[in-house]
Symmetry: C2
Subunit: 467 residues, 2 copies
């Protein structure tokens, strides 16, 4: 058989999957190296660590046998790019997308173990980035290493494309893709920044919500005022902002912005059945969120609310004195961060206008207000019935020993839309995180048995999709 | 004439007031020393500075000729106590109250000059504490110094009583007063922690609002959640808190807590006329607040809102991610600081219960909430027609060259009620700060011509009240 593989059976009668199973312990030891690098993209003081992590990825690609492996500067954190194009040209060229940056760790005091000291407890490894998405990124690398070690090559052509700015909204990615269309040209993208529904519930994300993120500032006096001398006589920006936020939802939990739902497609009966069957169930959602009660838009199940309905959340609020004890002021300023999750076929520009219109109509003249748009990324819906989706389904089924299903995901992965728009290619979302992994939160963790199955899934996927 | 004075004329034909006029420049130079000490009581790292300031006051009292001057430890920052009791026993014994601690300086970036580098611009000196109340404290010291220098003594018996914890709610003061009733016994208290309505609008505060301060915590999940994975399916504590705050006032700007106004006395026609005549006018309030529009309870003038009506303000809010850029979380926790200004004859315990009742009735079961009471201090109303009030009126009139008036003040001075309750004595509020002094805010300042007149006012007051 060809050194470029194409079949799980190796020349010596074993299999690449068998090789993976035999190397699990080593994988965990190496994963710890990756997880111990504090590649926090949003904090300037970690800039050198982010770059060190990029260089580490390049060394991994070189070790696996990539022909090309490089750190490419951008206006912000660098992109890691690699190429292995020795498979027959009849085989697909897969652009493997991921990110090596992680969220910040605050509030650090709520971590049980230090966020960059990977710690195993039972079946889980705890570290910032473990599930979002160093675990998936590492599983991918190990699947490639298994192929090259056991067969001398990969069954498909491959371009490796990891960014360092996903957690800050990928500010330089779209321009990079547009500028490097030839370099990134591919048959489809395998996006590893994904998860499955449970350790024995293999699933493929085929829909992602978009994100529109805003900062709202309400200003009263030029500086904080004494609440004794002025209390009762001037508008309080914190109260004004609270009233404005309170009015953003109606009593049924619906977003009260004009036209917010105008272009939203109603779930079909089939989609509703699929969501009811595949979840997440209310019990699963409560368990993974760590709450005893759910809350959301009336008339929809929780799975529908997260998967198919748009939402508006406050991600942060700050005003006046927030230290210990008391300071009797009327704050000069109040700020809120607003995160909207959007669905097909909402128009981000219309939502932006609608938010501003709401403030124009409802903010009193006693304050000044300002809305800053921090980022916008579109929703994405994948095509069903593509060869790569079939290969992914089969790889999951063989690795987990049960049929996989399609699911809709509440989060956003902006690169999916960018690649569709710039290169015209589809993405397939295939990961091994779990919903209760505490991503973006303290005590982020990766379920090791699922991480091992994730490596196997990638190994099988590259085989099936090459046939 | 007696070395203990009793008359403004000195033996050499001059007057104590004349002496004051001749020493203005020296006073400003010495005031700078006092203002340059960062005696911030709320911040532990300034503890040594607070103590240094206390010792500096003792040295001032010694220099003036006090028989006793000491720093007395408390559970927190020390009290400065001094005695001069050589006036005839027929003369009153005045307990002079003040505080030598100051507010913190944040946000420091909004100061035009460093808060502890006193800087003169035009008629103003800028520094933290300049008007609240190192300026008044210093004016008082200089008035005493003028008397002892020019006449060899004071016209009245005096106890000097300055605390270092006023800006943190005087946590140890009430116990100290109760424990030292004999030491503090007096005819009445002169409270220098006050102000007048304008440089040529001499006034005496005869009513002070009380303060009830609370912290409110709303908790959802155990840690921040990813707004993509959970947005739409769980309650958002920041939104819940906003809705609860929004409901604390009705559309007429009235506090919507049950029974909040039950015991509040309606202003009489005479009081309304007095407030309309003496202000503050809307223009003055807008100018000192630095706003172009006022806002408050419907049916009352701004002077009434600040002077006679109770209010509820949000002094701070904090939830979720408040750093630069975006973090797409649903916050686990949201916190607000609530400052209520209370008026005669509101019952602080009833307001406390009413706030809790409001949360019980209105907070959804999807969150947990907690109300912490940080402090309570009662309102105070002074008796009119006392000899000391007449002496103060006359001292103001002679110093400012125009009649003085009584006014109601929106702020709280808890010690007034403590002294009334523990020692049975009245207080008289006599200061030289101005309403636009930016107290508790950046760029706090003291109007120097008014500071000089303040010294003269104290000089005359001690004379008139001794007769």
């Amino acid at each position: 058989m060809s050194p470029t593989g194409g079949n799980l059976q190796t020349t010596n009668g074993g299999s690449v999957v068998e090789y993976v199973k035999q190397n699990n312990d080593r994988y965990v030891a190496e994963l710890k190296d990756y997880l111990s690098m504090p590649s926090i993209s949003t904090l300037q003081e970690y800039k050198a660590e982010v770059e060190r992590t990029a260089r580490w990825l390049v060394s991994q690609l070189e070790q696996i046998g990539f022909e090309k492996a490089e750190v490419i500067p951008t206006g912000g954190h660098p992109i890691v790019f690699g190429e292995w194009l020795k498979a027959p040209s009849s085989r697909p060229t897969i652009l493997v997308y991921g990110h090596y940056d992680v969220q910040p760790t605050d509030p650090v005091s709520e971590w049980s173990t230090p966020p960059f000291t990977p710690t195993i407890k039972g079946d889980e490894i705890y570290a910032r980035g473990a599930a979002d998405m160093k675990g998936e990124g590492h599983a991918l690398l190990k699947s490639l290493e298994a192929w090259t070690t056991e067969t001398g090559g990969l069954p498909v052509n491959m371009k490796f494309f990891f960014e360092g700015e996903e957690e800050i909204g990928s500010p330089h990615l779209d321009a990079f893709i547009e500028k490097n269309r030839e370099k990134l040209s591919c048959t489809f993208c395998l996006n590893a920044d994904s998860n499955i529904s449970g350790p024995d519930r293999p699933s493929i994300v085929i829909g992602l919500r978009g994100l529109s993120y805003f900062e709202i500032w309400v200003r009263g006096a030029e500086s904080d005022l004494h609440s004794g001398s002025f209390g009762g006589a001037v508008a309080n920006p914190a109260i004004v902002l609270s009233k404005l936020i309170a009015g953003l939802h109606d009593k049924d939990g619906r977003v009260a912005l004009k036209g917010f739902y105008d272009k939203v497609r109603k779930p079909t009966r089939e989609e509703k059945d699929e969501l009811a069957r595949n979840g997440p169930s209310d019990e699963e959602l409560m368990k993974s969120a760590g709450v005893t009660q759910l809350y959301g838009e009336r008339g929809f199940t929780s799975a529908e609310r997260v998967g198919m309905r748009p939402t508006l959340d406050v991600s942060g609020m700050l005003s006046g004195f927030t230290g210990e004890g008391q300071k009797t002021v009327i704050p000069a300023v109040a700020m809120a961060k607003i995160s909207m999750r959007t669905v097909p076929y909402q128009d981000a520009e219309q939502l932006d206008s609608s938010l501003r219109e709401y403030f124009k109509r409802n903010a009193p003249t006693t304050v000044k207000w300002e809305i800053k748009r921090i980022s916008v990324s579109p929703y994405a819906i994948m095509e069903r019935n593509t060869p790569e989706l079939k290969a992914a389904s089969r790889a999951l089924e063989e690795s987990y020993g049960r049929p996989s299903f399609f699911k809709l995901e509440g989060g956003s992965v902006p690169v999916v839309a960018m690649l569709k728009n710039r290169l015209g290619v589809n993405s397939i979302m295939l990961g091994c995180g779990l919903p209760d992994a505490h991503i973006h939160a303290p005590n982020e963790r990766l379920h090791l048995p699922t991480y091992f199955r994730g490596i196997e899934t990638y190994v099988r996927f590259f085989d099936f999709v090459s046939r």
